[in-house]
Every structure is written in structure tokens, then in C-alpha cells.
Amino acid sequence: MSEVLEVALRIVLVLGAFLTLPLLVGQTEHKAMAHMQSRLGPMYAGGFHGWAQLVADGVKFAQKEDVVPAAADRAVFKLAPAVALIPYLVVIVAIPVAPGWVGHDLDAGLFFVLAVMGVGVLGSLMAGWASANKFSLLGGLRSAAQLMAYELPFLLAAASVAMAAGTLSLPGIVDAWQPWWLLWQLPGAAVFFLAGLAELQRPPFDMPVADSEIIFGAYTEYTGLRFALFLLAEYAGIVVLCALTTVLFLGGWKGPFDEALWGAPGVVWTLAKTMLLAFVVIWLRVSYPRLREDQLQRLAWQGLVPVALGQLALTGVVAVMVG
């Protein structure tokens, strides 16, 4: 009985994190981006500085009509938002927030996470194809190109950490992590974070949804709840990417102080690092203009891939020398 209860509790916690953290990131984006642009952002919903804006948005989206274009491939069109969203929920299972605090310690956790995150992008490809819209098709093609280019440095950078830690289990990686890895794995961390941003199609890598030229790319034809699910998937993706970067490169639940001296619970450290990275994601969005398609490809193939390969070599040599 208690085992069933424990599993239920884990699932509820995973679902809770999945439903609240993206909203937190979204609200932070509303407010931080507004103030970076010398605006105020939402001020009304909920009374105090518009804290309930996204709740209000959710209520609005739930009431909107479900419009499917006549020309669209109906089944694929309707399925696409779920395909984009659910993988991020599943990924959260494998992400540890504190010692023992993990949905499940999968022994091939890193591999599992990378594989499932790749599925999420299929959602935008499906949307781009099924909409039967030229903007959507172009957006979908650009998504595919971007996935192709950035999946590789993403994988290689993650592999570098696996080499350093000698395990694919995410809690195992955090256990093996040492503070000097910050320097050792720095190029890998940068490559992983940037490539992850590009896979999420976040600015400045938002060519597939470039609003000034192809409306909203693959999501042009979407309204109402389906559109909301795509947005939720984007923000869940930010949470997952930031949490993964935290776990792989920033030491997860390990704080800078001796735990006996200043014993902040590991959950606080993991969440703090994740939110800090999420802020960086927002900060990059506000600060930089969109990269052109050829610049995107050049950055991936001539910038990130060589750096990731170099990081692999560095990790291999150092790991063998230390070991």
C-alpha cells in the first residue's frame, strides 16, 4: 500500500512541477522583459502587479473556440500540441532535485532525457506540415533544419559530462560532480545551453517562428487551447533545459557552502540555479536580435560542433589522466 502511495506522490509532484514552474517562468518573462524594455508588464490580473496574468490567460484559452482550418490534415493538426507538450512532462521524471528526490533514478537517465526531448520537436514539425499553410510549412522546414543542426552539439556536450562522471544516471552525475568541473566543462556547458535554446526555438534562435516574416511559423493556424498547449510546451521546455543544465554542469543540489555549515536543502539550490538560468534565457531573448537562417547553420556547424568535439577530447584526456 505504502509503495502505491509513494508512487502516487512522486507522480503528483512531477505533475505539480510541470504545471507550476513553466507558469512561474512565463510570469517572470512577462515582468522581467517588460522592465528590461522600460515597461511595466501586466499590472491588473490578480491585483498585485498582475501576478495572476497567466492564470487569467489559461481561463481565457480554455473558453475559446476550437478552430481547425478546412484545408488542414485534421487528425495530425489536432494531435500536434499534445506531441509537443507531453515529452517535457515525461522528462521531468528523470530530473533529480535533491538526493533521493527524483521521479525515478533511471540508469540510462541522460540518454532517456535527450531522446525524449527530441520527440518534443516532432510536435512543431507535425503542426507545420498538417496546417496546410505556406507560413507553417516554411516554419516547419526551418524547425527541422534547426533540430538537425543543434541536436548534434547538444548530444556531444551531454556526452562530455557522461564521460567525466562515468555514468548516465542523472543523480549519479551530480554525485560525481566537483566544483572544478565548472571550469573543465565550461565550453561544454555553453554549447549545451545554447544548443538547447536553439532546439526550443527561443530568441535569438527563433527563426522558425520569426513573427515579422512567417507570422508564427508552424503555429500560425493554431488558436485557443491548442495554441496554449504549444506555449506551455515552450515554457516547460525552458524549465527542463535549465534544470538539465543545472544537473549536468552546475552541480544540481550542491551549494557553494559546506552543508554542515550552511545546510540549505538541496531542493532550494536546484530550483535557485534553474530559475537563474531561466532568467538568463529571458535576458538573452531581450538583448539579442534574431539570427538569420544561414547564421544559425554556421553557428551550429562551424562554431558549436567543433567546440563540442574539442570538449570531448579535453574531457577524455583529463578523465584518463585523473583516473
Binding site: 473558453q63 512532462l89 533511471l106 533544419a145 555514468t167
Partner: protein
């Protein structure tokens, strides 16, 4: 919920929870929404003018060469992960590392060749 299959059973459960979440959301939507089908809103969006031709228009996929590169490297990456967990273990050491570097080196030279050939430019 122990062991190899136990862990993936939990993953399966969470997947079901995800499907349930989407189902609940759309059931709520069905109860709350207005439905006025037909009209211009079902028309394909093309900046307000009537759509020209069909949406699945022909276009030039400019990145198919990148796709080949990607497939080659992705297969390599899959080999990389199991190797990464054992290469530094006692009994493997330098030899294993050099072997993998030879393997990655071939790919890196391939990338360099593609680069020099001008394949990595978007035209």
C-alpha cells in the same frame, strides 16, 4: 517499482498522466467553448487575402546536405554514450580513448572536408 522495468513503469504512468492532462483540458474546453463552425475562419491564413494554391507548396529544402552530416554524427553520438561510462574505468584507459579519438577524428576530418568544399554555406 524497483529494477529496470520498474523505473520505466513509472515513466509509463507519467506518460498516461500526461495524456490524461491533455484529455481533461480538452474536455473542459469542450464544455466551456462556443462552437460556431464554418465561415471565413476555416480559411487558410494568408495575411488576409484568399489563399493562392494549396498550402503544401513546393519549396527548396536547402539543408539536405546537413541532414547527411547529421545522420553520420548522430549514429556516432549513440556509440559515444555507452563508451563514455566505461572508458575511464580501470583496464581500459589510454587505448580506449585513442580508439575513440580515431573514430571521432575521421568524422571531424569529414566535417572539415565538407566545410572546405563549401557545403556548410546556406545557398
Amino acid at each position: 517499482m524497483d529494477g529496470f522495468y520498474g523505473g520505466y513503469a513509472l515513466v509509463g504512468l507519467v506518460l498516461l498522466v500526461g495524456v490524461a492532462f491533455v484529455t481533461v483540458a480538452f474536455t473542459a474546453n469542450r464544455l466551456l467553448r462556443v462552437t460556431v463552425p464554418g465561415g471565413d475562419k476555416a480559411l487558410t491564413y494568408e495575411c488576409g487575402v484568399d489563399p493562392v494554391g494549396e498550402g503544401w507548396a513546393q519549396s527548396h529544402v536547402r539543408y539536405y546536405v546537413f541532414t547527411y552530416l547529421y545522420v553520420i554524427f548522430a549514429v556516432d553520438a549513440i556509440y559515444l554514450f555507452p563508451w563514455a561510462t566505461v572508458f575511464a574505468a580501470p583496464g581500459f584507459g589510454m587505448t580506449t580513448l585513442v580508439e575513440m579519438f580515431v573514430f571521432i577524428g575521421f568524422l571531424a576530418v569529414g566535417l572539415l572536408y565538407a566545410w572546405r568544399k563549401g557545403v556548410l554555406t546556406w545557398q
